[in-house]
Amino acid sequence: MATIESTRTGEQSVVGGSDPNITAHAKATGQTVYADDLHLPRMLIGKLLRSPSRHARILRVDVGRAAALPGVHGILTGEDLPILFGIMPVAQDEHALALEKVRYHGEPVAAVAAIDEETAEEAVRLIEVEYEELAPVSSIEDALDPELPLIAGNGPGRQVNRLGSLEFGDVANGFARADHTYEDLFFFEGNTHLPMEEHAAVAHWEPEPRGRVTVWSSTQVPHYLHRTLAKVLELPPDRIRVIATPVGGGFGGKSDPFSHELCAARLAMMTGRPVKFALTREEVFYAHRGRHPVLMRVQTGFTDDGELTAMAFRTMLDGGAFGSYGPATLYYTGALQTVTYDVPVYKFEGVRLLTNKPPCGPKRGHGTPQPRFALECQLDKVAVDLGLDPVDLRLKNLIEPYTMTVNHMRVTTCGLRECVETVAEASGWREKWGKLPRGRGVGFAVGAYMCGAGLPIYFNDMAQSEVQIKVDRGGGVTVYSMAIDIGQGSDQMLVTVVAEVLGLRPRDIALVAADTDLTPIDLGSYSSRVTFMAGNAALEAAARMRDKIFAAVSADLGVPVERLVARGGRVYDEEAPGVGMDWQEAVHVASVLERPLVTAGSYRAPKLAGPYKGAGVGPSPAYSYTAAVVEVDCDPETGLVEVERVWIAHDIGRPINLVSVEGQIVGSVYMALGEALYEEQAFRGGYLKNPTILEYRSPTFLEMPEVETFLVETDDPEGPFGAKEVGQGPLLPVIPAVANAVFDAVGVRIDEVPISPDKVVRALRLKEQGKEPRVGPKRMPDFDYGEPIRVEPPEQLPGRGVVGL
């Protein structure tokens, strides 16, 4: 049984409580309407033709036979949607349907709308495409082969999509100061989100009065989809409405604009009928945008007594066929190492390479689980080498609260030390580490994550989130926000924040969410930004509404505004609680004096980016912190690793809703265990080997251990009611903690995930043979990262300065 221990401040009524989620009743009765549940009159069904080739020129596309099939109403090929798009302004490299070339097996090439699914499938089969095969680029090694044909371009060459090289302070000097230097290589295999809901979209075209298209979609980013539709369809944004339906699991996998969304809209415009696309499970594997495979080299320097003197990180990312979020992912593999430890000097070199595979993108933790795995595994080795307890090595080097890091990240609240001490105590770490019988082990690691990316994806100075509140004269409160609930609990967060301020219950608040016609901007459910950003916007809007109500009640009762409180459905005099009125009466009074009863609030993160190229990735208004201990049972005969229990402590700032918070922590642990032990996108020569749920092995009920969760409350001064993120951070320490536990159990290092039984057995055989008991990458391919951009560390040195807010 999971346990959460938390304290409320005592001043709050619903924030920090365990109110049932406002969406839960509909979900438990099958009433929630997801995108694939929509049905419109005369609706056509869309299907995509996908490339059978990994890398080829398209010589000819003939849709004649398909168009002649009765029941087919529309067909699109690449030439019908020729405008390039991409989620990032610097990576506009995708077509809705392949033009001239295909870059991966499974890439959409043509689209059909027909009266039913079977007719659409038949039409797709009748489309004839002639390809001229090109040599496929299937791996990091291939991508560095100058003889292979360029994926993005003509002729042969190396497939460099993005390159970064940064040096903060004098790294050579830092290593010179060390008594011990360490260098290790790690590999993190790619994996995918596997949301239970396959992506789906429905589009509807209204030709009159001015020609408008509405797109319902299971998207995490209705705003960015809106922008992309405008660009690709060449329609002004005011003629497009995007409605994000409740998302049946995202984890980052529904954060890009997708072919099926653009094709649904274009086909609805072409045919004059609604069109639905619902991807099959296999197609979701090709849509992908999942975890990048990353090859890493970690170098650190330490003094004899375990003080970190320097760190250098080198990464190579296998990006798949397109840019997607890749330019950001690249920098995320180097950005957040410094927010957990006092790193005096730091160097980061990274390159993202294109390959002929489904495009990688953001998955829970976006680019940070891979380097976190590498760093925390190396620190475990360092501790053993220096004769220190791994927990003590961390405690010695932890960052202090209110610090500027060497790479210009502003750290404010930080409860990492308490997280570390909590899990060490609860797990019995001191009695277990190095002391359990062979086959049994414990592992430890920490992590940190952003409470929202400090910068929007496209450059602008507008709000990152806005919220409106309208109070009906009958007392009803409606909140309008474009934030989209992907299961992380954003709806509950919004109504809880507003209810708290207005003295109501979360279930009293109506919410209109994620509709570009009806709701003000929110950039989307990514980078763990919604609680911090939409929550703060809601807090501001609610406070302004409370002020309006209080002004009217104050005038009516003759009680000074500053003595009024809103609580329990009443507005009353704090000094004489009998003097007051119920909410409905207060609204009535306010509807006379404070017209209209409409307010708005907004949030924009403070400007935090450091003075260098690449500095836009990593800054956040706050960071969450997590520490975890994992206990495993590892069978030395079979190599099978079973996780017995996980202890995890998370610096939440303050919880808004305890059920949601615990759900995010346990869900993160689950997803991390899947990545640590089982999940991988396995390719054979560029063909995905396992595009089914059975073959893509994810944990079931039988593999999921019990989890003990602990909250550390640091009451962040900038978070809404002190809250920080919880959706992604708790994933980070669990993966390396598993690897470290395997070492404690059987004495071998598995320096790549997933830690499958064959790797454990192989390492144990090496050990028996007296060789290095390790399985992992043996070399980093040669690559010139160029001269680094040299960046002066901030004036306040890590761990020594205190930043102001």
Binding site: M1, A2, P20, N21, T23, A24, H25, A26, K27, A28, T29, G30, Q31, T32, V33, Y34, D36, D37, H39, H193, L194, P195, M196, E197, E198, P246, V247, G248, G249, G250, F251, A278, T280, R281, I486, G487, Q488, G489, V659, S660, E662, G663, V666, G667, S668, V669, Y670, M671, T692, I693, L694, S698, T700, F701, L702, M704, E706, V707
Partner: protein, 158 residues
Amino acid sequence: MKQLVTLHVNGEDMELAVAPHHTLLEVLREEAGLTGTKHGCELGECGLCTVIVDGLPQFSCLTLAVEAQGRAIRTVEGIARGGALHPLQQAYVETGASQCGYCSPGMLMSALALLESNEAPTRDEVREALAGNLCRCTGYLAIIDAVELAAARMRSAA
């Protein structure tokens, strides 16, 4: 060529014209308007489409609608008693057993079938019974909590 079939769903007879090769999942969602049951892998691998047929949990994606004639079919829409949630649904709401909610309809049907055959399942028995239903959000523990809570309440109410 479609044929008329009568399906007995959630206590009601439904006369539907169905293609003989269409699955129970397709017919429930597209012909009967019962979209609570979710479409998943269509290979019997994920459990999203689980319904109860004659008391046993069954993948509706692997069942032809014509095979389901004359059998008692129950879906997520049929669990609540009138306007009141079934204790299992109520426990689901309280423990946070749904996050995105997409697995919930199928998961609830597997859990309901378990509770109807075992009024006091252990946590391991819950794990075993639900192992064919995947969830990517919750890490499963809240679902086990919900089944335990519902079982306890149902026993004390009996």
